[in-house]
């Protein structure tokens, strides 16, 4: 406990010192605030955005909403397709080269196309994010199902298990940890896809705000947005860790 306390105290001292030096350097022109912003300015921007002018809530809402929808849609589709591939290996084999090709493409490059198809609203960024999430979750689902322990299969067959019993009692539960690590990555990539698409063009969203602030040289705002996005990514990791601990106690 004492050790933990000392460690967290160390972090606090480091962060306070870091911010103090940054602030001091910006105030004395050792560091150009035009390029690096300054901590007090960043804090003021966040305060305005969430407390006094409250404009950032709306953008945060759109970004989180789009990432959530994309995550669910992409993951559910991927797990279903993965299970279908497990049941029909021939279909998997037939689809594999096309999937490999699509997966090899830098998906963010699809954003201009999706913007044309789905417009500046929430549809285009969901499409970009789904295109990322889907493949990550699909490949982990397939890997998870392939990784089933052959001893478990032999034992179950010797016991007289039906294919359905083997699937639901052995294959699927054994694939869950690997599918879950795919879902964790899938959520991070859903956020990446949404913000990437917003940077290009969007009506609302943190990425769109970031692009605007950058074009107007508002470095305090840019830094504030980067900080917010990091926090968002961090909370995703926390949520997934918590879920994993709850769902996979046996690991």
């Amino acid at each position: 406990m004492n050790k933990v306390l000392r460690l967290s105290l160390g972090h606090v001292v480091f962060i306070v010192a870091f911010i103090a030096i940054w602030e001091f350097a910006s105030a004395n022109r050792l560091l150009d605030p035009t390029f690096f912003g300054r901590p007090s300015g960043i804090a003021a921007y966040i305060w305005r955005g969430f407390v006094t002018e409250r404009t950032l809530w709306n953008d945060l809402f759109y970004t989180v909403l789009a990432a959530t929808i994309a995550f669910w849609a992409g993951s559910i589709a991927a797990v279903l397709v993965g299970l279908l591939f497990a049941m029909v290996p021939k279909l998997h084999k037939a689809c594999e080269p096309y999937l490999t090709l699509l997966n090899a493409m830098p998906r963010i490059a699809l954003a201009p196309l999706f913007l044309l198809w789905f417009g500046l609203g929430i549809g285009s960024k969901i499409a970009v994010a789904v295109s990322l999430t889907f493949f990550i979750v699909l490949s982990s689902t397939v890997a998870g199902i392939r990784g089933v322990n052959s001893d478990h299969l032999v034992l179950s067959r010797a016991l007289g298990a039906t294919p359905g019993q083997i699937f639901f009692k052995v294959t699927l539960p054994s694939a869950v940890p690997i599918i879950f690590s795919g879902l964790r990555l899938g959520l991070v990539y859903a956020l990446l896809g949404v913000v990437g698409a917003e940077l290009l063009a969007a009506e609302h969203g943190l990425g769109q705000v970031l692009a605007y602030l950058q074009s107007t040289f508002d470095m305090d705002g840019v830094m504030a947005l980067l900080f917010l996005l990091a926090l968002l990514g961090l909370s995703i990791t926390f949520i997934m860790n918590w879920l994993e601990r709850r769902l996979l106690v046996w690991q």
Partner: protein
């Protein structure tokens, strides 16, 4: 040696006197249709009376496991000759058979209790009944206090105890065991062998026990069947006249045990060097 007398013949099962397992002139060729068929088992004949404990021993690759797999019906290729379990040809998922593998093959997402109940679950035993029986068996193997633990929290020996509980909980008349203690250290192995002896004395199943550990085979069995190197043939079928109940630990200092060991070791050496 004929233990059949104190086994009550259940309904639909062969009467006392009929063998529980019978193999006659069993020949198994893998890839018989291909360019290079492999003769794994060559004209093997043996039979087990109900309630008998017989070990199959021989050098690796001698077809011991092949014979077990043939009995379970898990192989896709069919052998020549006669092979019957309780008067019926082998088939996959035969409820008369409980199969135990070398590795514990516990499902890591199930607790010890749920693992011990797994076999019964597949075979459609109602939930209440299978949990009662699984817990009872866990107590018999000394895991009563670990029913709620996941396999990751159990040692190798405990995991294999749990696998024993799962196997015996099935209450199948025939047990096929493929080197179930092969992966354990010497001390744990002795303990587990005694656990198996206690279970077997209490439940009296017909057991085919595959091993390459000669001491283990002698300590546990009514008979030891010695096989030669590939192609597997039976070179000796030796009755073990050590009195029961046995303690595997105490046998370690029994001179009759060591005589049998020396005798069987000689036979095994012959088979390994291919002295035919």
């Amino acid at each position: 040696m004929n233990d059949a007398t104190f086994i009550k013949p259940a309904a639909g099962r062969p009467a006392a006197g009929a063998p529980a397992i019978e193999a006659r002139d069993l020949v198994m060729r893998f890839g018989a249709d291909g360019p290079s068929p492999v003769l794994a088992v060559d004209r093997v004949s043996f039979s087990l009376a109900p309630g008998e404990f017989v070990s199959l021993i021989g050098p690796s690759g001698c077809g011991k496991t092949t014979i077990l797999n043939l009995l379970t019906g898990l192989l896709h290729e069919t052998p020549e000759g006669k092979l019957e379990v309780l008067g019926k040809p082998p088939r996959e998922g035969n409820p008369d058979i409980a199969y135990m593998l070398a590795r514990d093959s516990l499902l890591p997402w199930r607790t010890a209790l749920e693992n011990a109940a797994y076999g019964m679950e597949i075979r459609g035993v109602p939930k209440q009944e299978r949990e009662t029986r699984a817990l009872d068996l866990l107590k018999q193997v000394g895991l009563g206090d670990f029913a709620d633990k996941y396999p990751k929290a159990l040692s190798h020996g405990m995991r294999q105890r749990c696998a024993l509980a799962r196997t015996f909980a099935l209450d199948s008349p025939v047990l096929l065991m493929d080197e179930p203690f092969g992966a354990l250290d010497a001390q744990t192995k002795l303990t587990l062998e005694d656990v198996l002896m206690n279970l077997w004395s209490a439940h009296r199943k017909t057991v085919v026990f595959v091993t390459h550990d000669l001491a283990e085979a002698i300590a546990l069995s009514d008979r030891v069947v010695v096989m030669s190197a590939r192609p597997g043939r039976i070179i000796a079928d030796v009755p073990i006249d050590l009195p029961r109940p046995r303690s595997v630990r105490k046998l370690q200092s029994d001179h009759r045990f060591h005589d049998l060991y020396a005798q069987l070791w000689g036979l095994l050496e012959q088979g390994t060097t291919g002295d035919e």
